[in-house]
Amino acid sequence: MSSPVYVAGVGVITAIGNNVAEHLAAFQNYEAGMGDITLFNTRHKGILPVAEVKLDNETLAAMAGISPKLSRTKMLGLIAAREALNDAAIPDLSQLRTGFVSANTVGGMDKSEDFFVDFLADNNKGKLRNVFDHECGSITEIVADELGITDYLTTISTACSSSANAIFYGARLIRNDILDVVIAGGCDALAKFTLNGFNTLMILDKEYCRPFDDTREGLNLGEGAGYVVMVSDKVAKTLNKPLYCTLSGYNNSNDAYHQTASSPDGTGSYMAMQGALNKAGLQTTDISYINLHGTGTPNNDSAEGTAIKRLFEPNYPPMSSTKSFTGHTLGASGGVEAVFSVLSVKHGLIYPNLRFKTQMQELPFKPETEYLKYQPLKNVLSNSFGFGGNCTSLIFSAV
């Protein structure tokens, strides 16, 4: 039951790059991905900055090898999942029990929005092919079909912690000897639905977001996909290339405080981090870097910061929010940041928290603002918290 689960491959696409190599370059160059909205028509264009993947649907679809008429979420998911699977380069994959566990929050909402404009005017109108992608599961299905994965597929949706839970569930499928290989993570494309939704909650910053800064005013939405390929001990021994790390700890706890707000003392966040440490058999002093959830909203960063203070006091490891580069990619964020955490452990990298100036008054620590290489990192903690009080923490450990 406690057999190790190894990470053998990673893949990612966000506003700062279309693959792993481009992301590492963007981090090193302190290049954020935010800008004006260009991909869809909305009243918020030019007012609310977002972090778009810098390719239109035609280009993205060509890159993914699927029809440009499908949901953008499918294209993002397929590009990152395929990169991860190719990266893992598992010999004789077809002989192994392989699963795909993916996450997203709004399925093919970009297409449903198109459908709904016509449908609302006349219930017999609206192109039906635009609702084929509506279900969250449809997104997962096409990616699995394109990658030839049939042994097990499922989809998780727990708001912004979705893909961290997908990775966690995937690891357990391996530990319970149900599968040998699991590709897990998540994807979400920007949509009017989520942009307007977050706007009604008044948590979108009109400037580029400033996670963990005392003057922070909200988040910037982003889009993307991030996947890790996890393998059992048995499969790990057959690989021809070095492994990245292990997924040593994980926990899912609920804040049980409010549907959208975090409790002031970060109960759920605290329990998730503590639970992941327990699962990994580690102490707080063993954590070398925290990839924060760090959305940049006053509420999240205060709750998460307070939970870290309560748990880690007085020894705070370096920490940063990569959402200052990618924006908040919602259902993809746990997967995207798992990839960053895996790369961090593997290459000894700590990413800068961009635009940080003023330390939060209630916290005795501040995020790392420099890009650091060759760090001796043993264990990296990645936090993903969402609406509905869903809090998940993952720990990646050096092999």
Partner: protein
């Protein structure tokens, strides 16, 4: 990986919720859509809160809380829910307002409640439950994924009491769209007559059904869930049979030992052919049952089948309403549930008397 079903509560299109007789009479519907019979929510949800909640959330919380009450457990260690389409009512409300109000002055409530994890989260909030909380949203195996998660948690020792359910709401919009997509029959019919004519399409349904799973033997347990398995897009009937055979072999059970097979026949010719191709060869001597005329077709309808199986083995009787042909063993001890969703997602569950 086994688990006991300690208790279950079901809000469905039949009289299944509360202290009621076990499917002794059919609640009849004329049309192609079955609607859940909603209980009085007052005992379960604060009326002030309830006014803002969609039917899906109210049905979810209510079935979950009743299930816990029946299982005499105040606080579960984990809550897991399956729903393919999520909170449609709020999703549609917010989409409509974006268009009608042209993205201005939108109220946030519908968006807040539109996320797929709302039901699971609201149950946790209602109980102040800080434990494991997960929501699966994968088409016709959303409930099966939730069950597997629950069984793994028990197996890992990370939870002792797991509340797991399937919830789905049918809205006017979804019903219209799914009708246009050809899922339902083109003319109104009684659900009593669902299997009488061979034709395309089925009837739509909805429901909210929860189970309390644990590893503790007790005379009060309803049933034992021995195993569950899903398989995806089998190419041939032989492929289906191979998967079922493997499932039984792994669980050391012969086909003859299965007293009742519950299938997911839904009255659609193409859908039911999948079962009809398998039954004569494979289940030639088994007693058969069906259930979708009672709850309608919906992605987590297997939660109804599991509720049915657990009640059959506990009560030692097969309601005449569900018999599909002659019932040779009146008090089944071992039941196999076999369902497929649009011939893509196939699932098996093996249920045994305790």
């Amino acid at each position: 990986m086994k688990a006991y079903i300690r208790s279950t509560a079901a809000i469905t299109a039949q009289k299944t919720f509360g202290d009621v007789p076990f499917l002794t009479e059919l609640t009849e519907y004329n049309g192609t859509r079955l609607t859940a019979i909603e209980p009085d929510y007052k005992e379960y949800v604060d009326p002030k809160m309830a006014r803002r909640m969609s039917r899906m959330v109210k049905m979810g919380i209510t079935a979950a809380l009743q299930c816990l009450q029946d299982g005499q457990i105040e606080m579960p260690d984990a809550i897991i829910t399956g729903t393919a389409l999520g909170c449609q009512e709020d999703t549609i409300a917010f989409l409509t307002r974006i268009i009608e109000l042209d993205e201005e002055m939108l109220p946030p409530t519908a968006f807040i409640q539109s996320t797929h994890n709302t039901v699971t989260a609201q149950i946790a909030l209602s109980l102040k439950c800080h434990g494991y909380n997960n929501t699966f949203v994968h088409k016709g195996v959303s409930f099966e994924s939730s069950l597997l998660d629950a069984m793994m948690l028990l197996n890992e020792g990370d939870a002792n009491q797991v509340l797991v359910g399937g919830t789905e709401e049918m809205t006017d919009t979804a019903f219209k769209v799914l009708t246009r997509l050809g899922l339902y029959k083109r003319w109104p019919l009684s659900n009593a007559d669902l299997y009488k004519t061979r034709s395309n399409g089925t009837i739509g349904g909805e429901g909210s059904i929860f189970f309390l799973l644990n590893h503790q033997p007790s005379p009060d347990n309803l049933a034992e869930l021995i195993a569950t398995k899903t398989f995806y897009k089998p190419k041939t009937t032989a492929d289906v049979e191979l998967n079922i055979r493997e499932f039984l072999t792994v669980n050391a059970i012969n086909i003859e030992e299965i007293d009742l097979v519950i299938t997911g026949k839904n009255g659609d010719t193409k859908n039911d052919e999948v079962y009809e191709n398998v039954i004569p060869n494979f289940f030639a001597n088994n007693s058969m049952a069906k259930y979708k005329h009672l709850c309608g077709e919906y992605p987590v309808s297997t939660s109804f089948a599991l509720w049915l199986a657990a009640n059959i083995v506990k009560r030692g009787e097969v309601p005449a309403l569900v018999a599909d042909g002659e019932i040779k063993i009146s008090s089944p001890k071992k039941i196999l549930i076999y369902n497929h969703y649009q011939n893509s997602y196939h699932s098996l569950m093996l249920v045994s008397a305790c």
